[in-house]
Structures are given as C-alpha cells and as structure tokens.
Amino acid sequence: MSLAIVGMGWVTPLGTCIDSVWERLLQGDEASATTISEEFADRVYSVFRVPDSALKGISHPRLRRASAISRFAAAAGLHALESAGVKLESQNAERIALIFATSNGGVCYTKRFYHEIVSTGVQAASPLLFPETVFNAPASHLAAMLGMTGATYTLVGDGAVGLAAITMAEELMANESLDYCLVVGTEEIDWLLCDAYRRWRFLRLAPPIEPFSNQNRGMILSEGAGAIVLARDGLVTIERAPPGGYFNRRAEAETILRRILGDLSQIEIDFVISSANGTFVDHAESQTLQELVPNALVYTGKPALGESGGAGGLWQIILAAQALHSKELPPVLHADESVRLRLSLSRTPVPSVRRAIVLGCGLNQQTAGLRLAVL
C-alpha cells in the first residue's frame, strides 16, 4: 500500500504559503537570523524565527494560553486540510487520524514552569502552565479545534521523527476505517535549547549553515511546523516508507543510512532531499549518497530554513513533493563546491523527474527515509 500526499501546509521562517516560500527557496533566499538571549546568562545565540505575521488569522479558545508550538501546529495543520479540501464533520471525525512529531515539545512553557519553581519555590508551580508542558498538548489543541474523535498520536524523537511519523501513518492507514491521516511536525525555539545544543557541540553561534563541509561547524536552530494530509489516492505518492533505524555511535550512522538508502534506491532516483545541517550528519549522508546514488541530484533546505527537528522532516517531504510537482530544485546554499556530490547548486530544472528520496538522520541516534513518486 502506498499513500498519497493530498494536502500540505507549513509555517517556516520564510513564511507560510507553500508556493511563495517555495518560490523564495528557488530564488536562493534564506531566513534572516535574529538573536535570542536569556536574563540569567550572557551568551546570545542566532536563530531563524517565524515572523509574527505568519500566524495572523489563527485563533481558537484552545489557543488562548497555548505556546508557539501549538499555534505553529494549528496553522500548518489547518492549511494542509484546507489544501486537501478535507472538512471535518461529526460523520467523519473518527475517520481522520492525527500524528504529531516533535523533538523538544513545548520547551518555552516547560522552562517557564520550572523557572518559577526554581526561582520562587514550590508554591509557584503553575497549574495553568503545567498542562502545556506535556508533549501531546499541541496535538490535543489541534484535535479539539478540528473536532477529531479518533486516533491521535504524538511521536517524540530527533530530526528523523517526522519521517518516522509517515511510516506510522502508513501503518495506521492499513486500517480501512481511516480515510485520511494528518501528519504534523512542529518545534519551537528557546534560548535553553540553543544552549543545550551548543554544549552538545551541534550548534553554530551565527549563520550560515554550511552543508557537507568537512568542518562540521554546526547548525542554526529554527522553529515552525509542517503538515501533510495523506490519503489513498493522489498524484504524489509515498511509494515506500520502511521503518528507519538507530545507531549507537555517530560513526555507525553511515551503516544504518546505507541500509535505508539501499532499500529505497533499488529503482532509479532523480533527487534526494538530504537532512544535512552542518553536523556529523552531513558526512554520514554524503558518504552513503556517493556510494549508492551517485547520479542523483542532492538538495538540503536546512541552510535556508534552519534545523527544526520535528518540523524539519515534514519540511523535507514538502520540499520533495514541491520539486516533483514543479520539476525544479532550489539551490543548496553555502555549500562547498568541492563536495563530491551532485548538489543542486543553482535553480535546477528537473524536467523528467519521477522519483525522490527523503533522508533523515537525527542527532540522537535515529535515522529514516522515504521514497516519493509522481504519477
């Protein structure tokens, strides 16, 4: 069984409209970095934020106290359903499943909740903030906004979790009582996350993200959401979504990626949407791609959009679907031209494109991949 992508929505640092953000990527635009600071620390980090204007028109009583992550998710999810022409009514409320993918969840409210405890004492623990710290709060808000009554799942993982959510969607859709599955990946930024990733040696203090560089200078965090609606028929299909894998040590990432890519590349592949983000991921993906799909064009959107964990995987799938549909690939920004990959270094027409692979290698041991095809 393959599933089809019938609707898409995203909230990115470059905007929210699928077509206009795609056009900006084709033109080589990248998000503007802003700085993020914290009152108890001196260090300042650069991040790619979603512009405030992106969430205009998204309102619901459940979002009144919700944090940014829930608003991003709601906006992307509603756009995806609208573009799919899917309306939820009481008759079909249980026939649509919802899968959320996130790495860090509601980190802003989690920090605020704990900060009040640490700084003021136990009595400051807020019963209003605590529910928003739970991983499935954004899924709950969106399900309530839409009136969903069926299956709702929140998956937690690293940067590969968005792709894992698609595999899970395929498993859910094996049940014919479901007509659609809405998959949403979402992430919000906080100074605390930046500091944690820096201490983990994955973060760069200022742009750019330099993909496939030998230097592994690090990534820039971003925020937002991506959403796709999956059905059984449509023009762009998820042709293959094998379960991913995990690696114990970073050096083993290449082995797991090779297994996944080997499975996906048994037929001719036109291009690969990579998850290269300026960390060890790039070397692992580069080696595997050179070996198994040396003729495929390679694109990564992370230099333009930043690294956004759970949202990032969904953005990659949307990028692949857009490229299959529009038959063009945007330029990979800030890449070293000496890289031994067939990078899309300028706006590249791909007129007879049929198949693409989306590859995800997370920072914390998870890997996944999908193959998309256009009819």
Partner: protein, 408 residues
C-alpha cells in the same frame, strides 16, 4: 525489504501473541515479584526522598529502588551516565530477553512522557544557580525520550527502529495497541511494545499544582478518594504473530485481541464528565476484538483516584458492563504515567495466567455515583479468560486493550 511483501500476503488479520514480558515497578523487579505483590495486595507507595516535597500537598509516590537498579550498571559501556529510566528499561527488557532469547523485533513501540526529565532539571538548576556544568553534555545527551529505549536495546543486542509515543498517561496502552495493530495487519511479525517513566520533580510538582495528587492514601473509586499518587517503572511485552510464535515453539503467555483509541476534546486535563471518551475507547476495543461486553471477566481500570477521572471512567464502565470485576492497581503502586499502561498490561497478563483478580486497595466506601463491582482490598480467585486494560490521558486521549488467556 520483506515488509511490503508480507503485509500484502494475507487478507485475514493475524492473531497476536504475547510471548514474553518484563517489568520493573514499585511492585517489584520482574514478573515473579510483581505477582507476589499483587497476590498480597501490597501497598508499595512510600515517602518521596528524591527531591524536596515538604511544601507539597502530596508527599508520597510509588518508587523503584535505586540500589536494585544498580544491578544493571557495568553491563553496558558508560552505564553510570545513563538516566535511571534507562536502567529501568534495561532491566525490564533483559527479563523479556531471558524468556525469549530468539525474539528479534522488527519494530519497537514504547510509551513515555518525561524521558530523562531529572537530568533536564539538573542542567537547568546548574545553569541558573551557577552550578557545576561539567556534566551538562551527559545530562543533555541522556535527556531525550528515545534514549532509554535505545539504551535498553543496545544492552540487549536489539537493533529495531523505535517509536516513542507520548500520549500522556495513555502512552503505554497506545504503544501496545499500535504494536498489536502492526502485527495484526501482517505488516510485522514481531514488535516489542511497552512504556517507561521515572519520577521527576517537575512532573511531581505539576500534578501537585493541579491538586490532582493526594496527601492521603490513593483510593480509586472510593467515595472519599482525594487524588492520585505518582509512580514510576518500565514494562515491555514481546508481541508476535501467533502462528509464527507457535511454529517456532515459543511459549505463549496470552493473546492480545483488541485495541480501541479515542479522543475527547473536552479539556486539556479533565475527561469529558459523561465518560464518552473512555466509553468509545472500550467500545472500539470490543469491536476490534469481535467480543461483547459480556465476555469480559476483569477490567484493570485507569482509576487514578482523582474525583473527575474515576467518575467519568466509572460511568463509562457501568454503562457498558454489567457487574464485571474492576480494580485499579494504581492504588498499590501509584500512577507511572507513560509506563502505566504497559505495567497494567503485565498485571492483566498475570491475572490471566494465574486466574485471579488483583485488588483495588485502600477501598472503604463505594461511590454512590457509579455502580461498579470493585475488587476491594484483597485479590480474589476467579476464572479470567478476557481482561480489559484502560488508560486515559491529558489532552483527552483514551486507550483500551483486550487480552485473552490462551490454552497451551
């Protein structure tokens, strides 16, 4: 590669066996100790010493002994750096693997809510209090929710891809339910399922701030119930296509026959008062299993002992089932959040295997509002062929699984 071929090889749903299980909880380490605690209706809730609770409404929890967790130290590299949630998962999975060394899962589905939260707390306190941050990279690397799962798999030589489902308190049952659907559909032959969570200050204070936790004993379904106590632990179950399990001569502990999931959109922390969400999950589990309410012999309730949960769940159970024995084993061990559903599935497994009804302790006065056959205070011997396990969580997420005894 073989998955696509396998899933289209048959139209008949596969039957799903549980061929092994492992558990670590306040009731004990392993199935034998857990059975003994259930048989003796042991109250395993103890004062919290892990962090300061003097200003909290609740001062107790079901806790797993640290010194017994030390037993897994040294068995895998850098084990002292791992979070105690990892050590719980390691010990639970080791028990499972000891029963079924040949069990090689193609997928792992685990429920959790908090990951290595206490490491996150240490990191934050050190940051804000100018504390020692030398160990921060270790805390950060061991904070993500998938880490205890991969640590346990690594310790046991398993390399399956894994999902971590974070559906709040329903996570563990959702994990087993999804794993069941994966095997039943024919897409997978063997899936490892379960859940874990370790006690953390932030979560403890969160429930305390909601006044959901109690300063008294945990009394599910009692008229004088006043709230929950938290718990912790880990449990895993080996789910396997029944035919292939029998073909390889594996012992079968029980069969999972149904799963129901529903979402009610009433409130982020409270269930819909009529119990419609809980009722839908149970109805869908019955429908999925092709059995009727009359076929159910025992219900392991979500039964947190909060006023609202028990009222809603009680209404749903009494509307669907006619006098089926009900107990909440959270009365003995507390509510272990993401682990609860999987630990309670193990409790059902033991009830099916050993033909008894686990007790709902601290039960003194029936609640006039709901008509339930509570297994009060002492376990009972009984014929138990089919058991239902409920888990309901924040965000209005509800899940039920049905398990059946299988004759050898």
């Amino acid at each position: 590669m073989a998955q696509a071929d396998r899933r289209e090889s048959t139209n008949d749903p596969a039957r799903v066996a549980v061929t092994a299980a492992g558990v670590v909880s306040p009731l004990g380490f392993g199935l034998a100790e857990t059975l003994e605690s259930l048989r003796s209706a042991r109250d395993c809730v103890t004062p919290v010493m892990r962090f300061a609770v003097t200003q909290c409404r609740c001062k107790t929890a079901g806790q797993v002994s640290d010194w017994r967790l030390l037993a897994s130290y040294g068995q895998i590299p850098r084990s002292r750096r791992l979070h105690r949630a990892s050590h719980m998962m390691i010990q639970a999975l080791q028990e499972l693997v000891t029963q079924q060394p040949e069990f090689e899962p193609e997928l792992t589905v685990i429920g959790a809510t908090s990951g290595g939260m206490s490491y996150g707390e240490r990191y934050y306190r050190s940051l804000t209090g100018a504390g020692d941050l030398r160990h921060a990279p270790t805390w950060i690397a061991n904070y993500p929710a998938q880490k205890p799962v991969t640590d346990a798999q690594t310790a046991c030589g398993i390399s399956a891809p894994c999902y971590v489902i974070a559906n709040a308190c329903a996570s563990g049952t959702n994990a087993i339910g999804h794993a069941f659907e994966c095997v039943r559909s024919g897409r997978y032959q063997r899936v490892l399922a379960g859940g874990y969570d370790a006690l953390a200050e932030m979560v403890f204070l969160g429930f305390d701030s909601l006044q959901a936790s109690t300063p008294e004993k945990c009394r599910p379904f009692d008229r004088h119930r006043s709230g929950m106590v938290l718990g912790e632990g880990a449990a895993v179950l080996a789910l396997e296509n029944l035919d292939s399990a029998r073909a390889r001569g594996a012992s079968v502990l029980a069969e999972i026959i149904g799963y129901g999931i529903s979402t009610d959109n009433f409130h982020i922390t409270q269930p819909e008062p009529s119990g419609i969400g809980a009722r839908q999950a149970m109805e869908r589990a019955l429908e999925s299993a092709h059995v009727s309410a009359a076929d159910i012999d025992y219900i392991n309730a979500h039964g947190t002992a909060t006023v609202f949960n028990d009222a809603a769940e009680g209404k749903a159970i009494s509307a669907l089932f006619n006098g089926v024995p009900v107990s909440s084993t959270k009365s003995m061990m507390g509510h272990s959040l993401g682990a609860a559903g999987s630990i309670e599935a193990v409790v059902c497994l033991l009830a099916l295997q050993h033909q008894f009804l686990p007790a709902n302790i601290n039960f003194t006065t029936p609640d006039d509002g709901v008509d339930l056959n509570i297994v009060g205070n002492e376990p009972r011997s009984a014929v138990v062929d089919v058991a239902l396990s409920n888990s309901f969580g924040f965000g209005g997420t509800n899940a039920s699984v049905l398990m059946r005894k299988l004759e050898a």
